[in-house]
Symmetry: C2
Subunit: 473 residues, 2 copies
């Protein structure tokens, strides 16, 4: 990391923690240079970067000020549900009908599950791909099958190690994206009819997978900042024969919540006490806005109970379909199931990513990507504040690319979804994130696309539609 | 196809059908040129090609003769089993222990499931890949997800059409190889506990999948030339609540058998009468040695009951993991299940193959591949005749790259497998192809690798080991 980037991060942290408040003037270049012992040009570059990240803005002849993203502080969404229940899942049809209706590329993609492909270094990746296939040993077409390309697995293991979680390369099984990894993990530790603890709200694909495998959901509420409610989980683990947990510990989809480290540690202890495995979906881990990469729960697991699933789809190579699982004590079973299910991930895609990780500048790309997402988050938060009704609540995620919006109680988000779609705007309505069709007045909004006039106008239109719904003002 | 290739195929057909017998002289160049109205140079080129295919050989100053591949006619394996039974499948462990033991690249790979990667146009494919990713529209990383890259699906649909089976592009779902397609199809039409008709012997992956999904197998015997026994199947369909069939209609793995067209038609009628879906595994269809591509059963299905699964893994692009299913009436359900299971096949791999199919010369490559496999088959058949005991029976497949060998009754092929492996030679022992551990005196041998002195010596060693086993001479 360059010196000015480091300095920019320090200032960003001051803004994040409120030391520098919205509207406040940031130290002058001369002052900052003297105070922090860096050159004036470093400060200039840092401020320029912070401006492009949407954190500060220049006012003519007055210097830089912290952006007033919001005209008022936005309340966060409320904690979700606390009643105990187990639920047969039956939400797939709704999810499919929502997803298929938003495929039109001309729709403003607030309902999309993907960030903009323009945020990724596709030309550089293409070079890595061309290089990898040109030099490919024909034998690798067999040798790189499950558990996967050795160079790639080594690079992934290195990244774990740098993140403070050394693990043996043998734990790693390359899969067709994280989704296949999650599917395989769940099948390894459950049988039809079993209970699985999931989040409420939850990523809809997990609901679909539970439904498909005839598993029953035990919903655990998620706090919008602090992640799943450990007290509720503890109670459920004590009272119900839960066979597995499936949680996102960092930048949870859709809420954006992350478990603080202390709570990750407690979760690991809880799992160990009950000997219940955790399928940890951590696909957004690289998209953090803070100073440090968040750790996974797996970092606190000494018993091999955590299957840590991730991929390059959200951070580097969308469409390549290269994910992995660090399978803990279940790695061998996962590998076998993978062999029976789809034999292997695509060998050229694996080789291309291995090459890119070695030579492509992954960390530099990630820094750019994080800045872009953070500034887009800020832009969307500001638009929520500007255009949505006063009573709207909204999450303020410190990573990922989703906002979770709680409209006034009487807003029917499925109706909003239909009306917005008719205006060429997609949203992801709340009920697709629930095994029990909750969150009828909520929606997930994607800020993974460069902010534009069209985005701003779409937010305005959404606000107008919301106000036109019965019972709102 | 060039004129000399056509002429060579005509002569090959005469050899295949026995009109030209082993050891017989083929027409002289002058004679052939006059009789068939082709130029002498065409005849020369054709004979040269036939020689390289291992069908004829030149004798000094005497002209060309049909090769005597075999010192005696090899009897074919016997039809398999006729008793009715349904079976819980429990063979995965055995399969895995066999497969993992033969991964050593220094082993003579007669037990391998793959043909030699050297038979594939990997450098030309690499060019297609480089081209495809360089020009890739970023939006395709989302747009080419399930059901798949449109150009690729159109090329596949075109190939169906040329083969006499026009079908709507909407029926096609791109998958991670045929194996995933087969898995998805089976899950769409069955639930745990259901009965599924499979072949005996069967491809071991189908047994593993049945085991994993807790399905019960109804084994249908396969005739080594004519494919599954339709009388037995009809009886089982009448007496048992079979929910699906899973058959390979062409060059069945491991027997190499193909249903003649008339029997394919009967099978389709039978399925229609009972309204039972067929999962048709047709991954070897392009590897035919005859004049014409064999049709799939799907060509005779007017009710959309057949899910036709295939891939490019055996014919073009091993390791790319691009397969597909033409799903008939189940296409929509398969697509949804694919979305939930692994979202999509690798987008670059799809684009590369689409590019290759348009510009790479697929048909030219396939002709070369077929010739290579046919000549390797001939070499291995000759080696079986030379080195294995008199009572050995062996299939004579007209496509694919597997021989099925029936040793004398008392030979224990699992023991043979162990002893051969100790000598650096792998085989695929018969019991891994059976839900009921039959075929204990059989083995599948892979001739998908260029024939070499090492291959010949390995066959000799195998013959010696077989003779050393108790009860053989």
């Amino acid at each position: 990391m360059k010196r000015y980037e480091k300095f920019a991060d320090d200032i960003a942290e001051l803004i994040r923690t409120g030391v520098l408040a919205p509207g406040q003037k940031v130290p002058s270049v001369r002052h900052a240079s003297r105070t922090y012992g860096v050159s004036a040009s470093t400060v200039f570059q840092a401020y320029y970067l912070l401006e492009s990240r949407g954190l500060i803005m220049a006012r003519a002849r007055s210097g830089y000020f912290v952006c007033e993203h919001v005209r008022r502080p936005l309340p966060e969404p409320q904690a979700t549900l606390r009643e105990a229940s187990t639920t047969e899942v039956d939400v797939s049809e709704l999810v499919f009908s929502v997803l298929s209706s938003i495929r039109d590329p001309d729709t403003v993609p607030f309902g999309s599950a993907f960030p903009s492909p323009e945020l990724f270094p596709l030309p550089r990746l293409a070079r890595s791909m061309a290089h990898a296939v040109r030099d490919m040993d024909p034998r690798s077409t067999v040798a790189d099958m499950t558990p996967g390309n050795h160079a790639l697995r080594r690079q992934i293991a290195l990244r774990y190690m740098v993140g403070g979680l050394p693990l043996p390369i043998e734990e790693l099984v390359i899969c067709n994206g994280a989704l296949e990894a999650l599917n395989l993990c769940l099948q390894v530790v459950t049988r039809p009819g079993d209970l699985v603890a999931i989040e409420a709200p939850a990523f809809y694909a997990s609901l679909q997978v539970l439904e498909r495998l005839k598993l029953k959901a035990v919903e655990i509420p998620v706090h919008p900042r602090e992640g799943i409610d450990l007290e509720v989980l503890e109670d459920r683990l004590e009272r119900l024969p839960i066979k597995a947990c499936w949680f996102m510990s960092n930048f949870q989809n859709p809420l954006g919540a992350s478990l603080p480290e202390e709570r990750k540690r407690r979760l690991a202890t809880l799992l160990a006490r009950h000997q219940v495995p955790l399928i940890e979906d951590d696909v957004y881990a690289e998209l953090y806005f803070g100073q440090h990469a968040p750790k996974p729960v797996k970092a606190f697991d000494s018993e091999g109970l955590v299957m840590h699933c991730s991929s390059f789809s959200k951070s580097l190579a969308p469409g390549y379909r290269v994910g992995w699982v660090a399978g803990g004590r279940y790695a061998g079973q996962i590998e076998r199931l993978k062999l029976m299910t789809s034999l292997s991930a695509s060998v050229p895609a694996q080789a291309a990513i291995a090459d890119y990780l070695q030579h492509g500048g992954y960390d530099r790309h990630l820094r750019k990507l994080r800045y872009a997402l953070e500034s887009q988050r800020n832009a969307m938060l500001a638009a929520v504040a500007r255009h949505f009704p006063e009573e709207t609540r909204v999450s303020r995620p410190e990573g990922g690319y989703f906002l979770w919006v709680e409209f006034p109680e009487q807003v029917d988000s499925l109706r909003l979804f239909q009306l917005a779609l008719a205006q060429g705007i997609s949203i992801a309505p709340g009920p697709i994130f629930s095994a029990t069709r909750r969150f009828g007045h909520c929606a997930r909004l994607n800020y993974g696309h460069p902010w534009s006039l069209a985005s701003e106008q779409a937010m305005e239109t959404l606000g107008r539609i919301i106000r036109s719904l019965p019972g709102t003002n």
